[in-house]
Amino acid sequence: MRKWFALALLIVLGFFLAEIASSFPFGQEKWGVSKHYVDRGIEENRGANLVTSIVVNYRGFDTLGEVTVLFLAATALAFLLSTCRCRRKYRRWDASLILKTASETLYPLLILFGAYIFIHGHLTPGGGFQGGTVIASAVMLMLLSYFSFHPNHRALSTTEGLAGLAFVLIGFAGLVWGGSFLANNILPLGQWNRLFSAGVIPLIYVAVGFKVGAELSGLITDMLKATKEEE
C-alpha cells in the first residue's frame, strides 16, 4: 500500500523533473554567466583550471561556506559522538604485517600526493577538497592498521582552525588591500599555467586542503573511536 502510493508520487515527481530537464536539450551549447568565466577567466585569474577559478575566486564565497559546512559537520559529529555508547565492533589488535608495512610505506606517499593535488589545484583537476580527502585516506589507512594509532587531536584541531582562519584572513586581506573580500588582486597573478600563478587561488586551495584533510581525519577518527565501554 505504502509502496504503491510512494511509487505513484515518485512517478509524478519524475514526470515533472523530466519535463523541466527535457526543456534543456542535452549536450547543446547554452551559455549564461559562465561565458564570462570561460572567456575572461585566464585573463582575470591566470588559473588554468577554470573550475578552480570559479570555485576559489568567482564563487569563492560558496567555497568558504562549503568549508564551513564541513567544519560544522565535523564539529557536530564530534559533539554528538563524544558521549555515544556505540557498539565496539572493531578489532582491538593491529592488522596483519602486510597491511601494516604497506600502510607505513603508503602513509607519507599519500600525504605527499594529497599535497600535490591541492598545490596544483589551479593547474590540474583536483584541488583542496580532493587533496584533503586523500590525506584523510592516509590517516584512515593508519587507523585501520594500528589499533593504537591515534592522530593528535590538538594538532588536527589547530590545523583545521588555522587553515580556516587563513581562508578568512586571505579574504580580509583582499578587503583591505584589494577593495573587496576575497579579491584576487593582492598578489601578482603571474603567468598562465605556472605553479606560482593565479594570485591567491593556490594559497586558498592549500588552506582548504589542510583544513579538509584535518577535518576528515578527525571525522573518521571520531567515528571509529566513538565507543564507550558498555561491557
Binding site: R87, P125, G126, G127, Q130, L216, I220
Partner: protein, 81 residues
Amino acid sequence: MILEYFMLFLLFLMLALGIYAVETRDLLASVLAAGFISLVASIVYLYLQAPDVAMTEAAIGAGLTTLIFIIAVRKTERYEK
C-alpha cells in the same frame, strides 16, 4: 560509439545497483553498492568532461562516504529486519 554504449551500460549498472542498494536487507552490501554507484558515477563524470568532479566523487563520494557508512553500519546493525 563504443564509448557511448559503454556509458549506457554504466548508467544501467548504476540504476541496477541503486535498486539493489535499496532492496537488499544487508546494510553493508547496500552501503557498498551505494559506494560503487559513486565510483561508476565518477567514470561517467570523466566522460562528461568533468575531471574535477570525477576526482571529488571518487575520493569523497565513493571513498569517504562509503567509509563512514561502513563504520556506522559496523557500529549499529548489519541486517535490516
